[in-house]
Amino acid sequence: MATELLMPALSPTMEEGTLAKWLVKEGDTVSSGDIIAEIETDKATMEFEAVDEGIVGKILVAEGTEGVKVNEVIAILVEEGESADDIAAPAPAAEAQAPAEAEAPASAPAKAAAPVEVVSKASPDFPEGTPMKTQTVREALRDAMAEEMRRDENVFLMGEEVAEYQGAYKISQGMLDEFGPKRVIDTPITEHGFAGIATGAAFGGLKPIVEFMTFNFAMQAIDHLINSAAKTLYMSGGQMGAPMVFRGPNGAAARVGAQHSQDYAAWYAQIPGLKVVMPYSAADYKGLMKTAIRDPNPVIFLENEIMYGKSFEVPDLEDFTIPFGKARIWREGTDVTIVSFGIGMTYALEAADKLAEEGISAEVIDLRTLRPIDYDTVLASVMKTNRCVTVEEGFPVGSIGNHISAVIMQRAFDYLDAPVINCAGKDVPMPYAANLEKLALVTTDEVVAACKEVTYR
């Protein structure tokens, strides 16, 4: 039976090419693997190999022909005894066409665009009257991890200095004693490697908690956080994923210079497949860490070194968790909405106090999780106050504040009485000098000034 030889696609982008040279002539016998022609693609000149065996019955496209379309019949192979003349001139093989483009893929603009009734999701995290205890963020984090490790033997903690040293920032203090070296594991200083090993362990069904001594060092490992952990569920069609937590201090500490002071909130919040948490209070650290460890997806848990020693009231409950995607309204107000998260809340709350002294009533919202984001709570508030200021320590370009502004513009444009202002870190690497460092970070005064600007005071 005769076999049609088609102009091959020899690169991902090739649509047509030049049949530069035939290396066989009519009547030649070819077998699988023989080079039969040279074809110039948009990238290079390539050799074209025969896949089937046969005799070159007819060459239909002469060498030197330019613009030969992919899948055009260029020659016919026949078997012994057959003649190419017996074969009707072939039509271009239609069945070889790739399936027609389906209707334009649902371009799905940000889901936030759907015009829906906006109802704030903010609600109390625990019933009124719950007994409370004062805890530091550090203690709340340790308790959350220890409680979950008692609950699920597949949970383990791995990182630099987490075991014998008791944690570079003492977050894992006492955990080696309780859980032993099998579950509290010191690693060498090798972020790329241990982030990959932990991700593989998660593929294998365990639930690793990976501590980065700081998220600045996670840049060594970011390929595994994004390409390996975040994308595998999708790439595997839902067969396997990476149930794990990457945690550690993020953002500026104090006087540690440019390489140890970056806030990665906006970076990770951009990645589908990740969940991103950046709490402010000790109660939120605890409730959200427990939720993060139970989540079947990779969670980026962004902590802050300056906050570790700060004390807050934490509900004294057996099992206290907070769902992702639920903002918290720290302070109700009527004149302006301040949206923040993480350490940015420090400035937001201070600013609200100062504004109150001047008779401006600010509503302060802590997003708490950046993926998913509780848009509705923000929108409901903005529809009430008609003004918004965002506050974060990270770089200003492509910031979380930029994104929140865009969503407000799309969904609550008619409610705005002033443009949204984003208060962020300055667009400079972090300087060391004390005065310059202070200037590089967002300040309470800047938040106050922004709130006055949007309220025209």
């Binding site: 992919v70 099998k182 490697g193 593929f203 839902g238 067969q239």
Partner: protein, 341 residues
Amino acid sequence: MAPRKTASKPASQANVSKDELLAYYKDMLLIRRFEEKAGQLYGMGLIGGFCHLYIGQEAVVVGLEAATKEGDKRITSYRDHGHMLACGMDPNGVMAELTGREGGYSKGKGGSMHMFSKEKHFYGGHGIVGAQVPLGAGLAFSDKYKGNDNVTFTYFGDGAANQGQVYETYNMAELWDLPVIFVIENNQYAMGTSVARSTKSPSLWERGAAYGIEGEEVDGMDVLAVKEAGERAVAHCRAGKGPYILEVKTYRYRGHSMSDPAKYRTREEVQKMREERDPIEAVRSILLTGNHATEDDLKAIDKDIKAVVNASAEFAKESPEPALEELWTDIYADEIPQHNA
């Protein structure tokens, strides 16, 4: 600990049964015919993007799969079609993934480089050179943590062997005695750069000595030699002695991907390898000279395999493209999918 150096010795045929030989022949031939078909479908525009064929390297995965037991895991790079077929994944599902169809292993969302099978313990299909190496060690970590005796085959190429994360992984794998077999598939070219042009330490397996990891070099064109080396590696890992390195010397006949102009090696070099060292021809010759099979027997096998491959191509053409809603699924899990294996 001094690493053991095992000379690449010809495998003894004495320990191999006729049935085993026939099985290796079939498995290798399936990979070759499948890959030829994939190349053809690529040429027809039915497969898009990157497509890295395994032709020439068949003895590596077939030999090593012969050393595995149920529960063992495998993970590799983007040149992954052979690994999937060798561990028993369905050719229809693999081919349909290549064409980006609903019937593919990842519902068409992964493509040639990203396929997985929970059922066959195949953990991908990874597109970032070297990234699968710590991931594989992590899979081994999970088995050691659970206390079973499974091992993980972590495949990577001579190109990945120069990535830093490989050595970070060697260090931790030996430190923690992880049951992982690092299989360096040295096909002599990292894309277009030969080993000689990328390193002055040409013996890649010996680098494990710096971390105390034992290993050996293996003739990757001899499926029996690969199987025997695989058995030594598996025994080492199952005994709790930590990782093991196999540097399997092999050769890819085709380009790095489909758009490889092949200017970095001569046509004669490829031809010589095909004529003198072809792994499938080698087994064929043992089968015939040992009177284990007749020409007719082998013709019948060829025919059966061609039918399987043609059926996979038909399936891959007929299977519909994924529904548009699939764009939005499998981004977040509600429960850990690998727990319901």
